[in-house]
Point group: C2
Chain length 147, copies 2
Amino acid sequence: MSATNNGVPGGMSVELDMPVTAEEHASCPVTDVLRRVGDKWSVLVVVVLGRGPKRFSQLHRGIEDISQRMLTRTLRGLQRDGLVDRTVYPTVPATVEYALTDLGRTLLGPLSVLTAWAVDHRPDIEEARVRHDAAGNPGADHGVSRA
Amino acid sequence: MSATNNGVPGGMSVELDMPVTAEEHASCPVTDVLRRVGDKWSVLVVVVLGRGPKRFSQLHRGIEDISQRMLTRTLRGLQRDGLVDRTVYPTVPATVEYALTDLGRTLLGPLSVLTAWAVDHRPDIEEARVRHDAAGNPGADHGVSRA
DNA sequence: CGGCATCCTGACCGATACTG
DNA sequence: CAGTATCGGTCAGGATGCCG
């Protein structure tokens, strides 16, 4: 982002109205990436694999809250996107090892930035959330269910 | 990253087995944050608001693919988490302005890193995806539908 | 050990319609 | 203009059970 832009409130909006336009509407790929990484487990798996190759069981143990189904699914998706590499050893009970690819490794940087932000500002978010909830607001549920 | 770790495959895993353990299991807040930011519109709204305060209509116009419902919902969520600020002007037809809070603004940095990565590696991902798909793999659908 | 198949629930998201 | 309410579709994701 080289958006060396303004900061002016609601007054004159120059080209600030256009449909997010070309460059910054980099949101197309961004949304795409977020939908891959934004799921419940992908990030976790990538981070864990960032510490070195692991076997299926190791990953399953290392995350623990994940089910085989989700682990397999996440791994498949990551593999499909060229982020992880799968190696099968024709041993007796079958041994499979997963590892980050070069591409997958490049994700670790941006991810660490985001995780750092998350860790750093989680309390603020939670505080704001509690305050908002404590106010006259109808609660956290904003309208999906509620009979 | 600072993870100057090993690279050894399935051999000796020192403390690499623990449930992601304390520090790096920053995944608790991370997951939390990702579920807020990982949805379809939050990032987009934050980025657009990063260019300055906007009114509801402006946002609606600026993103265009979003419905009022989703825009409202996204804004509510962001507001609840203290990322955006809502200001109502008691004019005749009612005027509301949304703006990023300080907290919200701190997100712009990490977000830009991630978006940069996304833009930079999208082609790689897509290529890997196509290749994976072109191989003997059963296709993109990894098992949800498919009668 | 590693993985796939099936069923089911709930969250997310979109289109439409109606209110202040 | 700004927002809520309702309906319906789609999909992530959890539980279980079986196969190599």
